[in-house]
């Protein structure tokens, strides 16, 4: 099914070097289909913002090709701006304008704009229509930022870290809005460093690290590629147990990762591995300090691929 869809965004061998020194993006290939929600997932400084700003036509790449709806920024800038809605990281909208005025202002830049009231209703901002932007909460501001993009009735929505710094409820609200937009046939590209966000709202993700895509595909597929879909984490007394080979030989274990004395196993079936693990511990006389099992996540994919965590917490 995917193969037959139209391509909304395509970039090939994208490279971006700042001041001839800092390589922010080093050869990135992306293909985003019409109607899907695509996530660029990666730690801070991975090159996500640079990539999305190149795709938004706000930065010029050092080399590589970018096509939005089959058109290049060089030749069709104005046309593309009409159909692309963006929300940048850290834009601070004028504080002394009201929500309504802000949307009217942004709407006036497009040939056709949606009625301000309709967008405010959709974004749950109607109550705040006459409040100054400076008086809004973080979640309301972020919704307004997305509203300034939606007022244009765009075909594409590019959002740079739309939920960073938001409380869980505001994040969910925003995810619902993205789902609505997608249901109308819109295409979404977003960057995030929240794995749960990528897993929940994105149809496909590309995991970015040091300016390269180190994995891409559907979140579920990427997790499956880990080998197991379950994770077993434990800690024991005695450090001689840190040797990872020992754990790999347990039944059902696919990968082993040791971090600060904690052992993380990705396993096919928890009920196969746990009894064997307990038996092995019993035999050695080590005491179990902690044992948890959980579903594997994109975080585990990232840890597996880079040996690092996505966010240093």
């Amino acid at each position: 099914m995917i193969q037959t869809m139209d391509v909304a965004v395509r970039c090939r061998n994208l490279r971006m070097t700042y001041d001839g020194k800092v390589e922010a993006v080093r050869g990135l290939d992306l293909q985003i289909l019409t109607g899907e929600c695509f996530g660029l997932l990666g730690p801070n400084g991975a090159g996500k913002t640079t990539t999305i700003e190149i795709l938004e036509g706000l930065l010029s790449q050092t080399s590589g090709e970018v096509e939005i709806l089959g058109k290049t920024w060089k030749d069709h800038s104005r046309e593309l701006r009409e159909v692309l809605g963006v929300s940048l990281q850290e834009t601070r909208l004028p504080e002394k304008l009201t929500v309504r005025e802000t949307l009217q202002l942004f709407g006036s830049f497009y040939r056709y704009a949606r009625p301000t009231l309709e967008v405010m209703n959709e974004m749950a901002l109607t109550e705040k229509a006459n409040s100054w932007v400076g008086k809004l909460s973080g979640g309301q501001r972020q919704r307004l930022a997305v509203a300034t993009a939606l007022v244009a009735n765009p075909m594409l929505l590019f959002l740079d870290e739309p939920t960073t710094g938001l409380d869980p409820q505001s994040r969910r609200q925003l995810w619902d809005i993205l789902r609505q937009f997608q249901r109308r046939g819109g295409t979404v590209l977003l960057t995030t460093h929240y794995m749960d966000e990528a897993e929940r709202v994105c149809n496909r993700v590309a995991v970015i690290d040091h300016g390269r895509a180190i994995a891409s595909g559907r979140p579920a597929e990427l997790i499956e590629e880990l080998g197991g879909q379950q994770m077993v984490e434990f800690e024991t007394t005695g450090d001689s147990w840190g040797a990872s080979d020992r754990w790999r030989s347990l039944p059902g274990v696919e990968t082993v990762h040791v971090e600060e004395g904690r052992v993380m196993l990705s396993v096919r079936e928890t009920h196969e591995t746990i009894p064997a693990l307990l038996a092995a511990l019993q035999k050695s006389g080590a005491r179990l300090l902690r044992l948890t099992t959980r579903q594997a996540s994109l975080e585990d994919v990232f840890v597996r691929l880079t040996g690092r965590r996505l966010r240093e917490e």
Partner: protein
């Protein structure tokens, strides 16, 4: 909750349950420009600092300076008469004089008299000489001191019986137009147009750049020229209010007379507002931080505060620097405003000045557009 069920849905959400958005009618060519200009005006109106610095401060300045330097009906000279021999004679002579009303005298010892004269409390010290006659102690660089000497001397000589050789008569003629406040208000108007142009455009732009708002704007199909035009023309609306307030204040509070036509005054002010808007644009074309642009704006404005004849005539500066002074945009604006408001000069006669002013504006715009950074 819908987001939880996402993984079980198809890759691409179906459009069947979508509410299609409605579209308003087509935006006109100038919709963006109009909204940008209105947004800028609203923002300024809602900023208490802007209201104070643009509208209240110039009026307070005019009020303060107008009162401090108001022309008194006739100056009262303060004269110290040194006590001792012959002082009663001097006092009698002064009292007998016709102009005795404009001279206030005190009697005190020599040392005190000289000390207070040095501090400016007295304009003149009259010291009786041992035999007969007086000695005047005065300060030749203090106009009031020089005048006091003449007035006191004339009074005493007349009282002592000196006759004027020629019969003269005088008629008082003091009309609005020649007073300090008349000079000051057009200067304050010029300075205000400069201040609000530089801050209202230069500072505001850098703030928008720092807040990534400019970047957000260029991510829309907004016409960049419309943005800059909207910013500058929002200044024109504000300019009319500044003009009406300051000149109105002069007329009402100080009975100032606007001799030239209001239309010319408005036109000259508009040219000034636009030119300083251009200069503001230029100072803001590359700066990334508001701190940087504040410094730049002050560097640009400082020479004009000093040299362009806001508070006093630039004729007082040495002749060598006059050509430089006369090229400054604020000098041109102030001269044109004064010539029109006070002298009733025609617009045509101000052509050269307006041309120089416009040239400043045009060159600034051209350079600003070339250098301007949106991100």
């Amino acid at each position: 909750m819908s987001y939880l069920s996402l993984e079980h849905e198809t890759d691409v959400a179906s459009a069947k349950d979508a509410k299609l958005p409605t579209l308003s009618s087509k935006n006109s060519r100038w919709a963006g420009y109009w909204q940008l200009m209105m947004a800028r005006m609203k923002e300024m109106w809602r900023e208490p600092e802007v209201i104070f610095w643009v509208f209240v401060f110039p009026i307070l300045l005019a009020l303060g300076l107008g009162i401090a330097f108001r022309n008194k009906p006739a100056d009262v000279y303060r004269v110290a008469i040194v006590g001792g021999e012959g002082d009663t004679h001097a006092l009698d002579l002064l009292k007998a004089s016709l102009q005795g009303g404009s001279v206030r005298t005190d009697e005190l010892p020599l040392a005190d008299a000289l000390n207070q004269f040095r501090l400016g409390k007295y304009d003149l010290v009259v010291v009786p000489k041992a035999g007969s006659g007086f000695e005047y102690r005065y300060d030749p660089v203090r106009p009031e001191s020089v005048l006091a000497r003449t007035v006191v001397n004339d009074a005493m000589q007349a009282a002592a019986g000196r006759k004027d050789a020629i019969q003269v008569s005088s008629k008082a003629s003091s009309e609005p137009g020649a007073r300090y406040i008349d000079f000051l208000i057009p200067g304050l108007l010029g300075m205000n147009l400069m201040n609000s142009g530089m801050w209202g455009i230069g500072f505001a732009l850098v703030q928008m750049r720092q807040r990534k708002l400019l970047k957000r704007f260029v991510a829309t199909p907004m016409r960049r020229g419309d943005f800059l035009l909207g910013l500058v023309s929002s200044r024109l609306g504000l300019m009319l209010v500044e003009l009406a307030l300051l000149l109105g204040f002069g007329v009402i509070a100080f009975q100032m007379r606007v001799v030239g036509s209001w239309a010319s005054v408005i036109l000259i002010s508009a040219v000034g507002a636009l030119s300083f808007g251009g200069l503001g644009l230029l100072t803001a074309s590359r700066a990334q931080k508001t701190e940087t642009v504040s410094g730049l704006i002050n560097v640009v404005m400082m020479p004009m505060w000093m040299f362009s004849g806001v508070f006093f005539s630039y004729e007082r500066f040495p002749a060598v620097i006059q050509p430089f002074v006369k090229l400054l945009p604020l000098t041109m604006l102030n001269d044109a405003l004064r010539a029109t408001i006070l002298g009733g000069a025609s617009l045509a006669s101000q052509g050269t000045r307006l041309l120089i002013l416009l040239l400043w504006g045009a060159v600034s715009y051209a350079l600003a557009l070339r250098w301007f950074r949106w991100t």
